[in-house]
Structures are given as C-alpha cells and as structure tokens.
Amino acid sequence: MTNFPLFPESASTVAGQIDAVYFALIALSVFFSVLIATILIVFAVKYHHGKQVKRERAGHSSAKLEVFLIGMPTIIGLSIFFWSASVYFHAVRPPADTLDIYVVGKQWMWKIKHPGGQSEINSLHVPLGQPVKLIMTSQDVIHSFYVPAFRVKQDVLPGRFTTLWFEATKTGEFHLFCAEYCGLDHSRMTGWVTVMPPAEYEAWLARGGQDVAPAGGAAKASASTPLSQTGSGAFAQLGCNACHVPTSALRAPRLEGLFGKDVKLRDGSVVKADENYLRESILDPNAKIVAGYPTPTLMPTYQGQINAEQLIELVAYIKSLKGEEEDDAGH
C-alpha cells in the first residue's frame, strides 16, 4: 500500500490537453461549490432565526438576475464545450502517419497483432514518439480498450472496426484495462502497454515480439511473418487473386492504392475506403458495389468463412498494396 498515487501519470500527447480541460473544470467546480457554500453559510448564520437583523425589503424575484442566471452558465458551458470539443477531435482523429496495430477483443483477453506479424496477448508494445493507431474489433461482446495513462478509451464492437490512436511520450509500463462490462472476468481483461524507445522497439520486433531473444540464435531474424504477408497468403488461399489481379479474366477492381481513397459506387454515392469499408466489401460485397461493376457482384460473400483475425490480415494486406500510379487505380 505504499504505492498511493492521487493523479494518473500522463504519458501521451493528448493527456496534457485533457488534463487541462479537467483542471479548468475543477477550478470551475471549486469556484461554484465554494461560492454556494459560502453564501449558504453566511446567510444561515447572519439570518439565523434568533438574530435581530434587518429583514425588510428582501425581493422575491428579479428578472434581471434570472437573465443573468441563464446567461452566465450558458456562456461558461459553451466555452467549455468548444474547448473540450476541439481537444476531443484532436484526440479521436489520427494523424496521417500512424503505425497501425490490430486489436481483437474477446472474452476475456486482448489479442494484438503488429503489422510485422508479431502477436501478443494482454500486452502491447509500442515505440515512443510514434503515433499509433489501433484498429479494433471484437469476437463476441462489447469491450473497451482503455489506457488511463494515455487518457484514451474506445469501445470495441463486434461486427465492426473502431479505431483509437495515441502517441506515447514516456517509456514504461502502463495499465491496459477493459472498461466496458463484458461478463464474468471483465475485471481480469487487463494487461500492460509497454512503451519503448524506437530502437528497442525495433529490437523487440526483431526478436519476434519476445522479451528475450528466442533460444536458437537471435540471428534467426523472426519467426513472425508480417501481417500483410499472412494476409497475402490468405488472399491467395481464399481465391481473391482469382479476380483481383490485373491478369485475371474476371473483371474486378484493382486493390492497389485503394485504401484511403474515395470510391465511387454504382448508385452514384462516394465512400471513403477505410477499414470498415474493406471489411464490408469482403463480408457483404453486395452492400456497396463499385461503379462500373454489375449487380449482383461477381465476388462471393465471405461472411462466416473467415474469422476476425483472418479478416484483419486481409485488411492489412490490402492496406499494404501501394498504388503504382495514383491515377490508374481503376476508380
């Protein structure tokens, strides 16, 4: 019980900004609580029952005062709203150059897949000073990925990807909690986030995500295959490359450079090709058909054929496909 903190460590770029809003709110709360308590005490003492004081001409209402009482909290509230909303948008919108790591939540563990194929359970290793984006989904119920030291939290839903990003500013080990109640061992669905200097992180990756080098020689670079490569295997194995290669007889859109682009759909609308779009394209290809392709799509539905992890591999693979030239991706 010697470790008795009263304030959480701040170990991410947004932590300071969120704490700032928090402190402002504390100041506001202290101000109003003290103000009200003081008024109450002063009046309660001064106008106490037995006291002989002037009591006449106490107004019973004041329109001016009420207008002030409406205006003042509205203005204070709106100011906090705008400030906190801008911090919020910063906190939920990832910057461009993120390291993408995939997270699968299931009762009651976190499975983490690094792009290099290293995987861990209930622990996450990240490099210092690099924006990291987590692309998360759940295999069963709702979970929530929470790292208090980073002040970030995002629910992890079945049937969908949600994302969360942060940039760690301190090395060390930080708590990882599941914050959405998910059943029996919800309170044990915890782990650690380890922030390492980039070089150490490289080394850690090179060891295949082991804390110590695997016996048998560190030279054997890694037992882990990059996620995109596993994905490429799955891409072949599931028969995607029967169509999605330039040489295929079956006409299908090229996937190179697709990720992050705007895709024009058959019905004229435009969607952004993010992870959820890729997910839907694979699991329910008929939901959104690319402009210029027939309905029903020739592409088979993979719903029920692949699990969450394979899906992540495929998505990682498609994201890794670079467009040769920006403009001939076929969209």
């Binding site: 008795f4 809003v21 609580s33 009200i36 409406i70 909290p73 030291a149 109640y181």
Partner: protein, 552 residues
C-alpha cells in the same frame, strides 16, 4: 393562527382510522394510504439495495477478489443498480410524497383515477417481486444497463425474468405519471391557478411528463431484448444483423430522462423546505417552476452523452455534448434561486433544513461533475470509471436521497400525526453527510486515476482510496439504520405533532394531521400565491419543545 380551527372535535377520523384490517389497506383507493403502501415497500427495496451495496464495498476492500466470486459480484452490482433505480429511487418521492401530497396540495379529494393509483402499486409490487425472484434463481449479471449483445446472446442468467419485472414496473411508473398529470390539470381547487401551485407540484408535473413519454420506450426496448433472447432474432446482435448501438440509443432515450425522474421530485421537496425554514417565498418562483419543465424537455435531447466512446458518430457526440451543457442551465437556475431564498430570511436548522443544506452542497458537486462528463474530451478518459460512479451517487444519494429524507422528516408529522426525536434525527443527518462524502469523494479520485467500474478485482495502487470508501459506506449504512429506528419508534411513542408544527403555508398544513379521508372538510379556495410566509414571525416551532431539544 391557522385559519381552519381543526382541534379534532372527533378524536379519530383521519385516513389512518379508516380501517385497520389488512384488507382495508390492500384494497384502499385513498391516495394517502397508497402512499403508505409505497413507503413500506420502497423502504424494503432500499435496504435490499443497500445490503447489496454493502457486499460490493466489502469486496472492494482489497484488490484481490476474495470476498465474493466475480460471478456473485457481477450479480450483486446488477441487483444493486436495478433495485436502487427502478424499485427505490424512481418510485420513492413520487410514490410516497407525491401520492400523499399532490391531491392535498391542490385542494382535491383524491387523485383523478384512484383505482389506477392502487393498480400502480400492485403493478410495481409484481414487477419488484419478479425481479427479486430472478435474484433467487441465480441473479442477473448484465449491469443495470443490459448492454447487448452481452445481455441477449452471451449472458446465461435470468435476464428475461428480470427484464419482465422492469417492464411491468415501467407500467406502474406510466400510470403514476398519468394520474399526476390528469390530477394536476383537472382537479385543482378554485383559485389554484398554475402560478399559485407549490413548486413541489410543478416538479412532479415535469416528472410525470418524463414518465409517460420516456418509460414506454424502455418497455419496448426491454421487450425486444427478451424477444431477442427467446427467439434468437437479433435486433441488437451484430451476428444476426442487428446493431448494439441501436439498443444503446433506445435504452438511454429513456434512461437519461429517467435520471431526471429521480432528481426533479427531489428538487420539488427542496423548494418547499427551503421556503418554510427561511420563512420566505422561494426566490424567483416562476423561474424555478419553469426550469422544471425545461429540464423535462431538454432532458430528452441529451441521451447520447452516455455513448461518447461507444462508436457513435463523433458528430452526434458533438450535438449531445452541447445539449448536455445546456440542460445544466435550468439546474443552475434552481440552485442559485434556492440559495438566494435564504437572503434576509429567518432561518432555523431543524432536521429537514439540515438535509436541505446537505442536498445543496452535494447536488452542486454531483451536477458540476456532470459537466466533466458532458465535456467530450474528459469523458473519453473517465467514462466507465469510478468517476461516473461517484458522479451519480453524488446526485442520487447526496441529492435525491437527502431530499427524500428531508421531505420524509418534514411531512412525517402530517403523514403520521406524530413527531420524531429531533436530536436523533439531527445526529443521523450529520452522520449521513459525513459517511456519504467519505464513501464517494475518494471515488472521484480513483476514477480519474483510471479504475474502471464493475471491477471485481482491481490494481494494487487503488486500494487506499477504496478502503476509505468502504469505511465511509459503513458509516453511511449505520446512518440509515437510525431513521428507520426512531421513525418507527415515533409511530408509537412520538408526541402528537399538531396540525401545522412548522407553521407552514400550503394546503396540506391547513387540514388535520393526519388528514381526513377526503383531505378537507370543505373544498378550500385559494386567493394568494404560495409561500406567503411572514419573515417577522419569530415564534419557535411548537414541535421542538416536547422533545426537549431546541432548534438551534
């Protein structure tokens, strides 16, 4: 002094004397007797919920899960939340004080629909018993929020039974709300115009609006969860094409306004008390009255603030956040107006007034911490941590329960005709305040540190604060036993209270204590606004003396 000289020419003709048989209670349609039925059952539910809280706190004394298994723990916080919300706090003030006082305060003989009023109580009891039965056959482990797909497809507990209980109780709430609305609209006595209504009535009217417009959505949502579970349809299960966020939208569409069902009646109580113990009208009567309606209406526009990190669109989050800041404004109006009421008043610190002070302090803190949660950036960090737990206990226990206790003490002489022991009552009020803060203040700190809620085990460094909290809960628990004891005692041994011990205005004080079956011998006629107190009146309250205690 009082205009109606009601020195009981006939010894017993009050509503309590209308019959002593069980049947005379269980088949009564008198709103006052129904209020007593609620008083008994709500108290039982409170102690059941409190016992569950005791188990929770005891488990949380140490970081390891040593006192209960996680299975038990999960079922315990579910029953605690469900019982406290649906079977204690939502019916507490409306069911007891509202039922007892609304007809009297507006000069009516009864509720508009006395039989439906009784039916409400029965429906409530059936719902309550079903929910408790679900506890006996193993309990429910979903939390009071029943989030899907856990509750529909994964939990192997008695979700359907408990859901049925809550659904049924929902109808009790709807019928109570209907009765309030119709009674307030159509049963006011001559001269009782809208702006002569006591603020207690205004706030119950606003509450009733929420009850009738919000509760049906909860009912249908729970019914859909049950259908999901029984037929495997999957309205809310993504594996079956449904959407879990849809459940959250529907659930919070009711459950956010429901938090105002739990606070508005308390606010009504505070208005009555603050006026009486300052011997002044409530400052800014019209503003306080209208702000109740504003809370009821705006309260329906902010539910998405429970879903900021749920995967809801961030743009929807923006809208819900800004509206949440706006819904705080009418509450702010009330707090300030109550405070100003004390100005140049003649203030006495009888027990009910102590609860008013407690309420004002604790509700302010609870409400202000609500702003932390409405602020998107801060909520990302604190949502689903103990910060939330602290926020709502500050409002619901520090605010609503305090007001409920204050109101119960204030109207106790009217309801029972007897006076309780003032010294014990003051002691309990102070103890409650101390125990409360010790229990829940540390939870703000541990919440910002990052301790998630609904955790059966927790990290080592959170322990000190949890020990404090458990210690506080022990004090708090004891403080709740006292009133149970001395109030019961007063029923038999308490001195007679007289018709108007607080020399309060308000029609309920112009009739006998306890009131006759039809409340008044003669339909009253109102010619003045409410709270026509006289600040210069410096008599002691006549209730204090028989006890030997003095109002200080």
């Amino acid at each position: 002094m009082t205009t109606l000289d009601l020195q009981l020419p006939h010894p017993r003709r009050d509503y309590l004397a209308a019959g002593n048989t069980i049947k005379s209670w269980l088949l009564t349609v008198d709103h006052k007797r129904i209020a007593i039925l609620y008083l008994i059952s709500v108290t039982i539910f409170f102690f059941i919920g409190g016992a569950a809280a005791g188990v929770l706190r005891w488990e949380l004394l140490t970081p390891a899960g040593d006192f209960t298994t996680s299975e038990t723990y999960n079922r315990t916080f579910t029953i605690h939340g469900v019982v406290m919300v649906f079977f204690f706090l939502i019916p507490a003030i409306p069911g007891i004080l509202g039922n007892f006082l609304i007809p009297i305060m507006i000069g009516a003989k009864d509720m508009a629909f006395p039989k439906i009023n009784l039916a409400s109580w029965y429906i409530y009891m059936v719902g309550g018993i079903l929910s408790l039965a679900s506890m006996l056959i193993g309990g429910v482990d979903t939390g009071w929020t029943f989030y899907t797909p856990y509750s529909t497809s994964y939990s192997s507990s008695a979700v359907v039974l408990m859901g049925t209980g809550i659904l049924i109780t929902g109808f009790s709430s709807i019928f109570t709300g209907l009765n309030f609305i119709v009674t307030i609209h159509t049963m006011r006595c001559p001269g009782m115009t809208w702006f002569r209504l006591p603020l207690f009535i205004w706030s119950h009217y606003a509450t009733a609006l929420i009850m009738i417009l919000g509760t049906p959505v909860l009912a249908i949502t729970i019914a859909m969860v049950a259908v999901d579970r029984v037929f495997g349809i999957g309205f809310f299960d993504p594996d079956k094409g449904g959407d879990p966020l849809l459940f959250q939208h529907l659930f919070w569409f009711y459950s956010h306004p429901a938090v105002y069902i739990m606070i508005l009646p308390a606010m009504g109580v505070i208005s009555e008390l603050v006026a009486c113990f300052s011997r002044k009208p409530v400052f800014g009567y019209a503003a306080v009255a209208v702000s109740s309606l504003a809370i009821a209406v705006l309260g329906f526009l902010v539910w998405g603030h429970h879903m900021f990190v749920s995967g809801q669109s961030p743009y929807a989050g923006l809208v819900f956040s800004i509206l949440s800041f706006l819904v705080a404004v009418p509450s702010a109006i009330k707090v300030f107006n109550w405070t100003f009421t004390l100005y140049k008043g003649r203030i006495s610190y009888a027990t009910p007034m102590l609860y008013v002070f407690g309420f004002l302090g604790l509700f302010t803190i609870g409400g202000l911490t609500g702003l932390f949660l409405a602020a998107l950036a801060v909520d990302i960090h604190v949502t689903d941590t103990y910060f939330i737990v602290a926020h709502f206990h500050y409002i619901m226990v520090g605010g609503s329960v305090m007001a409920y206790m204050g109101g119960l003490h204030f109207w106790w002489p009217k309801i029972t005709g007897r006076m309780y022991n003032e010294r014990w009552a003051m002691l309990s009020a102070i103890l409650m305040f101390i125990g409360f803060n010790l229990t829940f203040f540390p939870q703000f700190v541990v919440g910002y540190l990052g301790m998630p809620r609904r955790y059966h085990e927790y990290a080592q460094e959170f322990q000190v604060l949890n020990v404090l909290s458990t210690a506080g809960a022990t004090v708090l628990g004891a403080a709740y036993i006292f009133p149970l004891t001395y109030l019961l005692y007063s029923l038999f041994k308490g001195p007679r209270a007289g018709n108007n011990p607080w020399r309060a205005t308000g029609l309920e004080w112009q009739t006998t204590s306890p009131p006759p079956t039809f409340n008044f011998d003669k339909t009253p006629v109102v010619t003045e606004p409410p709270y026509a107190y006289d600040v210069e009146d410096d008599e002691e309250f006549d209730v204090i003396h028989p006890q030997g205690g003095q109002t200080v």
